[in-house]
Symmetry: C2
Subunit: 364 residues, 2 copies
Amino acid sequence: MRWDELSTPALTVDADVLDRNLRRMADYCQSHSLGLRPHTKTHKIPEVARLQVRYGAIGLTVAKVGEAEVMCGAGLDNILVAYPVMGPKKHERLAALALNHSMLVSLDSETVAEALASAAKQQSATIGVLVEFDAGLGRCGLEPGPGLVDLAQKIMRLPSLRFRGLMCYPGQVSGSAEARQREIARVVEKVERARAAFRQEQIPVEIVSAGSTPSAFQSHLIPGLTEIRPGTYVYNDMNTFYQGACAVEDCAARVVTTVVSTAVAGGAILDAGSKTLSSDPLRFGPASGYGYIVEAPDAPIVKLNEEHGYVDMRRAPRQLRVGDVVSIIPNHVCTCVNMHDEIFVVRQGMVERTWRVAARGKIR
Amino acid sequence: MRWDELSTPALTVDADVLDRNLRRMADYCQSHSLGLRPHTKTHKIPEVARLQVRYGAIGLTVAKVGEAEVMCGAGLDNILVAYPVMGPKKHERLAALALNHSMLVSLDSETVAEALASAAKQQSATIGVLVEFDAGLGRCGLEPGPGLVDLAQKIMRLPSLRFRGLMCYPGQVSGSAEARQREIARVVEKVERARAAFRQEQIPVEIVSAGSTPSAFQSHLIPGLTEIRPGTYVYNDMNTFYQGACAVEDCAARVVTTVVSTAVAGGAILDAGSKTLSSDPLRFGPASGYGYIVEAPDAPIVKLNEEHGYVDMRRAPRQLRVGDVVSIIPNHVCTCVNMHDEIFVVRQGMVERTWRVAARGKIR
């Protein structure tokens, strides 16, 4: 079947582009002796995780215990839950996973550490811990300095936890090349302060984990990192493109959609709305709108309802007609993928197979 | 189990509030002799659809063939697919449903009508059709007038389709009471023009379907309607509240969430982000942010990442601490529900049962 014969809306991934994206990141990490621990939140698919491992990933990153369960259940291992997981049931499930898998969790408070230790002890499991510091985003993580060392030392005294190192998420490294360069400098300083605090106390730090897709290829400019955790790079999206972090041809995922109405003058309605694309806005670049129509680049998607995409046809040279099938590169592929139970794998325009988005809905 | 003992994030619905919302709408429709054909896109749950029917709904509305399949599979009937469905596989599935169920589809083009007729004929099924006109939103639907009658007459000549009447979606009736009143006047005019065009050709119109939650209780002010299709009213949300269309106490659905980090000064991080709440902004009212924290109304959720809600604690009288469990009324409950595989039914603070969001992911 050709991609445009799929029943719509449908999420597709170009297998060759995916492969190229996976290889490029793996090569970069290898050439800079950086570990690659990709964040699977973007794809949520064990088959893609397996490709990442085949290309040399040292492990995987997830945000949720349920995502870790899916990956472990599919035979994957060395999982970092890069999230300060809090709650007795989730800690119990984490400890159960740690009985048979190498598990890491990031956290930034004694409260989470103590509760996690207690759950791990209950099951005689050992869970590795990364202490999170704030690299400038202002989301999670302690300020690098003595407080960070204090928390690490407390973790060392807790049963069933093992302090393995440090983590940060440099999510503020975004936007233009200049803006990203400025923020990289800030991350360099934060990482150095964090490492210095541990050096001063002569505490060895095995892992220093950072990374994101927009900052990934600048990671070698941050001394001391042992690994990075990019996620979006597998598929890329318009936000990645408009930050100059990929080309349009590197965007592997597209939503295939059908024109369902042209009754209102000057517009066309697609069967892809916010429940198909997500309502995440375009955060970077000169354009606005809710995704890039590959076959009609002069026809912006100006508004979304749940199941309707509003296309402004007033400047488009060719009018869309009811029944036309087009494909959209989403603004934010992570939240878009999260809307789909499956993704259709396309190679040279032909649908080759289907992957289930197995970790979708695993929100706990 | 108490609601705050749920593993988080978790979507809950208060059974008593739900019941009251269902009853209020049913009573309104009955007292004005309006049919109620609730849009199930908000809840996507056969159990809730059954309650709606028990309270007197004449049928149900869905947006997707897959949603219709879920509802029919659960024993429900009289389904309007209020969407100009386009695509051979979906038409085939619709025709298959129509063999054993009373199915209606709305459309606004010959292209959709002809393709649908051909699929229905193939299976010797009959599908009812509502012709859609634009009541002022500018999304789908022809301008009320002779073109609308033309399409209806073409449908009457097509095999396996049965023209049943007219549909519009007055989605622009929103915002302040004044704004809504002004737009209701416009809808009145559009409905009257549509009906007049059919009267002139002496074509009987059995169904005139309109309605939305913000406009629902003004539906009796629009002469000629036979039924309305509100969806959001089952749960309500902050957008409904800020339009004055419900009280905060009428908001039945809440996302239960845990504070996972307070490491960054002035803030707190919740384990509910855009993959739990959806990133739909608040569209009405004086406030901004991504949901109302019931237990900390002075602490706005100022930003979402996929799995993080950023709470601004700077004006909150009581600080949130790691491990605290709070509940959020979402901005837009329809897209929020769409993030969850199940909803926990709470009565007087105790979790009573779980409903599966069975039509979630049925995007085709």
